[in-house]
């Protein structure tokens, strides 16, 4: 490396910017408006490789993902990911809470698909408890309804942020406009827009509130009008196609070797969808199709996501019709050693409470009070063993390896998060391409760093 100071380097006043000499060569800290000095500084070192740290605070890296790119001109010769910036120790924390409280933690992992995190964990716990067949049908239908609504909101974010990163800002604004409608439904049904902790071992926390059926039907009708807007904006748009077609190529062999599932796998034309192949929560009783594309590229993944939203709408409609016929049915297992005794209702203050139940346990029955206290503080015991029940999340196979030692707390829960696994494909998808295509390739994987780092 040359040690001669370039004149432009003297002009820099910012103590955080500028250049410094290290053992690895000259390091530039880019702060904006300093392109002249960087370009001039690079000039006489053109024969050397340039390593660019993109992120972890780059807006196009989907949260706190750090990309380490080795460039030759504008061509990426090597791409690596640095992750862990959002590691929250959720798996460890769950080991210190009851089985029911575990839901509160895992819902926060992949924050764009909370219901899938909850459901895969809860299905594992239910298998360990041996109550898979006892979960009421209404609870399963509500899980399906929420998961499919969640799939729509998650795919909307994938398409919206993916569009924003290539400059299609309208796609971003309409994507978030529609997502807001889904979050409103979540708020109506669970009380929260995110971090619901709504799916519980044995069923779901609450029944559908009054008016929810009508709201969902109104949403489905509205989405049927608005989804064509995405197709009209993007499907045949020459700029959009120019940026996405042939970018981030990964074929079926590559997907299987690297463990990629979800829309990336289906964009190779292989119709693998756990909802069809290994159904859970009663998915085998719904009428829907697995969507595929055959181009193995980012454009194919966009089209798969777009088509999957239509399929999700079909499932939401069927689930809503069933729920309309199931008014008053239980949403929790009948086993009083697992289900919390009170059927809570959300009060005007947004907090859950059941005045009838409080009257009962405080005024009428000491036994009921003790039982409630034990169940909520101590929780229930789960027989020793291990289970793995994966679900098809918007990003692919999401599974929880749930291990119990027979205690009241999970002994170990490991989440196989599809974002984590799929992100390994960054190198093969982007090496040899342009820097700008790295953004498109990663957007087509749709990683959520909350899920990657857990």
């Amino acid at each position: 490396m040359s040690t001669t100071d370039h004149p432009a380097a003297h002009d820099v006043q910012d103590v955080y910017a500028g250049t410094s000499e290290t053992g690895e060569g000259r390091v530039f800290t880019v702060t904006g408006q300093d392109w002249d000095s960087i370009a001039a500084g690079l000039d006489h070192e053109m024969d050397d490789r340039v390593v660019v740290n993109m992120g972890p605070q780059h807006p196009s890296t989907h949260g706190v993902l750090r990309l380490i790119l080795e460039l030759e001109g504008e061509t990426v010769t090597e791409a690596r990911c640095g992750i862990g910036y959002l590691h929250t120790g959720i798996e460890k924390n769950m080991e210190f809470r009851t089985w029911t409280q575990g839901v509160t933690f895992c819902t926060r992992m992949d924050y764009l698909s909370p219901f899938f995190n909850e459901t895969t964990y809860v299905l594992g716990v239910e298998r360990l408890l041996g109550i898979e067949d006892d979960v009421p049908e209404k609870a399963q239908t509500m899980r399906v309804l929420l998961m499919e609504l969640n799939r729509i909101s998650s795919h909307l974010v994938a398409i919206a942020t993916g569009g924003m990163e290539i400059g299609a800002l309208t796609v971003m604004t309409i994507g978030f406009r529609e997502r807001e409608l889904v979050l409103d439904l979540f708020e109506l049904i669970t009380g929260l827009r995110m971090n619901h902790a709504f799916v519980r071992p044995g069923g779901v926390a609450q029944d559908l509130p009054p008016g929810a059926i009508d709201e969902i039907r109104g949403f489905v009708a509205l989405m049927r009008e608005r989804l064509p807007e995405y197709a009209a904006l993007c499907n045949a748009n020459p700029i959009f196609k120019g940026r996405l077609e042939g970018v981030g190529h990964l074929d079926l062999e590559g997907c299987l070797a690297l463990g990629l599932t979800g829309p990336v796998l289906r964009s190779t034309g292989y119709p693998w969808d756990l909802r069809k192949t290994q159904p859970y929560c009663g998915y085998e009783t719904y009428d829907f199709d697995v969507q595929t594309w055959d181009t193995c590229d980012s454009y194919g993944r966009f089209r798969v996501r777009l088509a999957e939203m239509w399929e999700s709408l079909r499932i939401v409609e069927q689930a809503t019709d069933r729920l309309a016929r199931m008014e008053g049915d239980p949403v929790m297992v009948a086993d009083r050693k697992i289900a919390w005794p009170s059927q809570l209702a959300i009060g005007s203050d947004g907090m859950g409470n059941s005045l009838d139940h409080i009257r009962h346990i405080m005024g009428e029955s000491m036994e009921a009070l003790i039982h409630h206290f034990k169940l909520v503080t101590e929780g229930f015991r789960v027989p020793a063993g291990q289970a793995y029940v994966p679900v098809e999340s918007p990003r692919g196979e999401l599974g929880a390896h749930v291990v119990s030692d027979g205690g009241t707390k999970p002994y170990r829960v490991h989440f196989r998060d599809p974002s984590f696994t799929n992100l390994q494909a960054t190198s093969v998808m982007s090496e040899g391409g342009m820097v700008a295509d790295v953004i498109v390739a990663i957007a087509s994987i749709d990683p959520v760093m909350g899920g990657v780092d857990r």
Binding site: I83, F96, A257, G259, H401, G407, H414, L423, R454
Partner: protein, 245 residues
């Protein structure tokens, strides 16, 4: 789960049959921990009368044939193919529990067995769902477990392969050469449990900072936290509180 992927009913009954009919069966139920008392309280007087209670924690016992459904088919093929390759003792035991089948594999033979599972036309477990590690400090001589969930898309089957390593020698062969997807998964298991995957192309920490001391998800690693004072009382950190066990 659908009937095709998990013939649960028969499997559950098979779990009750006393083991010992197969050469590779450990037969014994492995006790991995002991619980004392009822409420997990230590160091305080026993006011409940349950303080003398001792319960053991045991993992599901190895199963005997028939395992039920396609489980036998997979086990047959695996037994035959490992025998052909001189790996008769690779599979230490088979546990069928709650409709899921687990093959316990000797760590020396892990790579060969996984390669068989992936390549044999009758097995064809093309996709691995990654590596999960479990730390069982009470499981003497095999404290660290590495668990692999494999999926055969061809036959629509799912199995679990488990191998163990003692805390004193936390080495397991790397399987990145068989399933490249294990790259990051093995790094995570190393980062969190200190399991060293021999032969991994670049076994470094992945979630924790490079200079982090210790492996956070091991059971002997403290949860951290400081005592918090509240209205004159002191609330200890979560892993030092009195809790139910």
């Amino acid at each position: 789960m659908s009937g095709e992927t998990s013939p649960g009913g028969q499997a559950g009954e098979a779990g009750q049959v006393p083991s010992g009919t197969l050469p590779a069966q450990p037969g014994e139920q492995r006790v991995v921990a002991e619980r004392h008392g009822l409420f997990g309280a230590r160091g305080t007087g026993d006011t409940s009368g349950f303080g003398g209670l001792v319960t053991t924690v045991a993992l599901p016992r190895p199963s005997a044939r028939p395992y039920g459904g396609w489980f036998d088919e997979v086990a047959d093929v695996l037994e035959r193919r490992t025998g052909e390759q001189g790996l008769e003792h690779a599979v230490l035991g088979v546990v069928v529990d709650r409709g899921e089948i687990t093959f316990h594999v000797r760590r020396e033979d892990l790579v060969a067995v996984l390669r068989l599972l992936r390549d044999d036309p009758a097995l064809r477990f093309e996709l691995s769902s990654g590596v999960s590690a479990v730390h069982l400090p009470g499981d003497a001589g095999r404290e660290l477990h590495a668990v692999y969930h494999l999926l055969s898309m061809t036959h629509n089957r799912r199995i679990r392969v488990e191998t163990t390593a003692p805390d004193a020698d936390p080495h397991v062969p790397s399987t990145v050469s068989v399933y490249p997807t294990h790259d990051w998964h093995e790094r995570e298991a190393y980062d969190m449990f200190g399991l060293v995957f021999d032969g991994h192309p670049a076994l470094t920490r992945i979630l924790m900072p490079d200079d982090w001391p210790g492996h956070p998800q091991r059971k002997d690693y403290p949860l951290g936290g400081i005592p918090v004072e509240y209205k004159g009382g002191t609330v200890p950190p979560p892993d030092q509180r009195r809790s139910y066990s």
